[in-house]
């Protein structure tokens, strides 16, 4: 999931249910891989908008950091979603997934960031915090030589990194400890479900190509 859009068809009145389902998926992925007992909240407001993250409440629209198991690092994850034009599916309008060190200052390591409709940098991008010898020796003053000011493109709107990708990155790079051996199966299952949703959304957007593929397969 959570690059996510194209949730199951429902009436607009079911926005709260859609918000809950999206939040449950985020919570399930976290609590069955690198976290325990993280509780995700969703804030629903008009017109058809949803915020999903940790630490949200009636008086605070700001997400908060939370630790992974063994407190190897901290995460901050937030999604802003809206109903699509048909009022039937939730689409992610903006999101971030930030990884912080477990030091006293909670230094940011990197951030997977997405916001629709940006012109000055890629909608989906990665920002990495740290020193860069290459940038330091670059001619001119590219982005004032600060690594975190570069926006590395990561897959665009359709193929941007998901929460599953971030969890896998954390575990395989030793930045987080998996809850148990089942984390690969969790990610596989969640990815399959998400990819089906994405495929449905892609077909809705381009049914002609879908028809051509079915015809090539001998399915009319």
């Amino acid at each position: 999931m959570p690059a996510g859009y194209g949730w199951p068809s429902v009436a607009a009145a079911d926005l709260q249910r859609l918000a809950r389902e999206f939040g449950e998926t985020v919570q399930r992925i976290l609590n069955t891989t690198v976290c325990r007992d993280v509780r995700i909240s969703a804030v629903v407001y008009e017109p058809g908008m949803v915020l999903v993250g940790y630490g949200l409440g009636k008086s605070s629209l700001r997400t908060a950091r939370f630790p992974v198991l063994s407190r190897r690092c901290w995460l901050d994850i937030g999604y802003r979603l809206r109903l699509d034009e048909a009022g039937r599916h939730l689409a992610v309008a903006a999101s971030f997934m930030s990884v912080f060190a477990a030091d006293d200052d909670k230094t940011c390591l990197c951030r997977f960031d997405y916001e629709r409709g940006k012109g000055e940098y890629p909608e989906a991008h990665l920002q990495v915090y740290g020193e860069s010898g290459a940038l330091a020796s670059w001619s001119g003053t590219p982005k004032r030589r600060q690594l975190e000011r570069l926006h590395f493109a990561v897959g665009g709107r359709r193929y941007r990194p998901t929460l599953e990708d971030v969890v896998e990155f954390l575990i395989t790079e030793g930045l987080a400890v998996p809850r148990d051996e089942g984390w690969r199966e969790v990610l596989r299952t969640e990815r399959e479900a998400f990819q089906r949703i994405q495929l449905r959304a892609a077909i809705r957007r381009d049914p002609e190509t879908a028809r051509e593929v079915l015809k090539d397969l001998g399915i009319s």
């Binding site: 609590n31 909240s41 804030v43 629903v44 008009e46 605070s60 700001r62 309008a93 971030f96």
Partner: protein
């Protein structure tokens, strides 16, 4: 596993909370939008508030 809490805000409640968040940041919506335009936020909280209110005003 605990249920996901879903909080519903009326338009008036949302507007009040947005104003309070901007006041806490010490920024106007336009100033925060400019930070978002260049993706150079002055704080983590500014980034978090933009996620919540971007495109809403």
């Amino acid at each position: 596993m605990a249920d996901v809490e879903v909080i519903k805000l009326s338009r008036a409640e949302y507007n009040r909370t947005v104003k309070a968040e901007l006041r806490r940041l010490g920024l106007t919506y336009s100033q925060l939008a400019e930070q978002a335009r260049t993706r150079q936020f002055t704080s983590e909280d500014a980034r978090r508030v933009w996620l919540a209110i971007g495109g809403s005003c």
